[in-house]
């Protein structure tokens, strides 16, 4: 699948979690990817959008885009970067 022209290898929905499990669930999904693969992480507006992208960036992964789904959720498009 593609989101706004970016090829997506995997998706994970963290709208069912609250902090810190939002980040943990996203991190587990990223850990399963190969280097360079792209994942779309669906999250709620508010606290998740504030914190999850920052935590993922701190892990060294590349944030490609944050897409507003206009339904109270966002898709964060992340490219996995192995150390």
């Amino acid at each position: 699948m593609e989101i706004e022209g970016i090829k997506i290898d995997d998706t994970v929905d963290i709208t069912d979690k609250v902090c810190p499990l939002t980040f943990v669930k996203a991190k587990v999904a990223i850990d399963e990817l190969d280097d360079g693969e792209v994942i779309a992480i669906r999250m709620n507006d508010g606290e998740p959008v504030q914190n999850v992208p920052r935590s993922i960036k701190e892990e060294g992964h590349q944030i490609l885009k944050l897409v507003n789904n206009e339904d109270g959720t966002y898709n964060l498009i992340v490219k996995k970067v192995e150390e």
Partner: protein, 268 residues
């Protein structure tokens, strides 16, 4: 195998750690650790490893729970007095974490059974209270090329070191042979502050977790000592030349396991 939602939540504080992550947690779930002695050291070590999700934990102990154990052996409860320590330990772990499979060995380790017991484990924790067992575990681990954590506690003191094959000295490199009879009191005679088992046994669990996940540096080539009276830790560098060691050296003179005589306590 992928982590379940429940596992992701249970181990979330591990998974959050950059050094551990889902991969490190899966390594822990797939790991097998043998703990020799469900006593002062083995109790906290077993409990932290079980809580951490080490998938298979083996426990070796021939004894039953005694009232005088409960001051430090926190895996056993008052209601367990008279029960086999391995059974009591297994019940505590099962209640704590259903992810852990517990194998029990209600026997003393000897030159006859030790190789067979350790062969399926990735890491061994020496939580024993006597020199014959400590030398037996060392020699068997050297011969079977198994990493292990040595520790000892007495009164207000504790020590530990880690052996990894090919990466530093073994216990016998440092201590050569068991001390003569009555040269060193057992903790039955000398006493031990209960929390000492918690400090040193938890450090042993930390060594096992770090070995399994590959995080950081181990106590290979070092002896860490703890003096509770002065609240001092010392990390002592051990001689790196192991050539002359009777068991792990380049020309070993000990090629078969030895059952040293168990020195009986003589009350002073």
């Amino acid at each position: 195998m992928a982590l379940t939602d429940e596992q992701i939540e249970r181990y979330s504080r591990h998974i959050i750690l950059k050094e551990v992550g889902a991969k490190g947690q899966r390594k822990l779930l797939n790991a097998k650790v043998l703990i020799v002695g469900a006593g002062g050291l083995g109790a906290p070590a077993a409990m932290y490893l079980a809580a951490a999700g080490v998938g298979t934990i083996g426990i070796v102990d021939a004894d039953d729970v005694d009232l005088s154990n409960l001051q430090r052996q926190i895996i056993h409860q008052t209601a367990d007095i008279g029960k086999a320590k391995v059974k009591s330990a297994k019940e505590t772990i099962n209640a704590m974490n259903p992810d852990v499979t517990v194998n029990t060995y209600r026997e003393f380790l000897t030159s006859e059974n030790i190789m067979d017991i350790i062969k399926d484990y990735d890491f061994i924790i020496d939580g024993t209270d006597n020199f014959p067992a400590k030398f037996l575990i060392n020699d068997a681990c050297v011969m079977a090329k198994k990493p292990f954590s040595h520790a000892g506690i007495i009164r207000f003191k504790g020590q530990l070191m880690t052996y990894v094959p090919g990466e530093g000295p073994c216990y016998r490199c440092v201590f050569k042979n068991p001390p003569p009879k009555d040269a060193v009191p057992t903790c039955k005679q000398a006493g031990v502050i209960g929390a000492m088992g918690g400090v040193i046994g938890s450090l042993q669990a930390m060594e096992a977790i770090k070995y399994i996940t590959g995080v950081g540096k181990l106590l290979t080539g070092y002896l860490l000592t703890y003096d509770a009276i002065n609240q001092e830790f010392h990390k002592i560098k051990l001689p790196s030349n192991t050539d002359g060691c009777a068991v792990c050296g380049s020309h070993p003179t000990i090629t078969e396991l030895i059952d040293y005589e168990q020195v009986e306590c003589t009350d002073k």
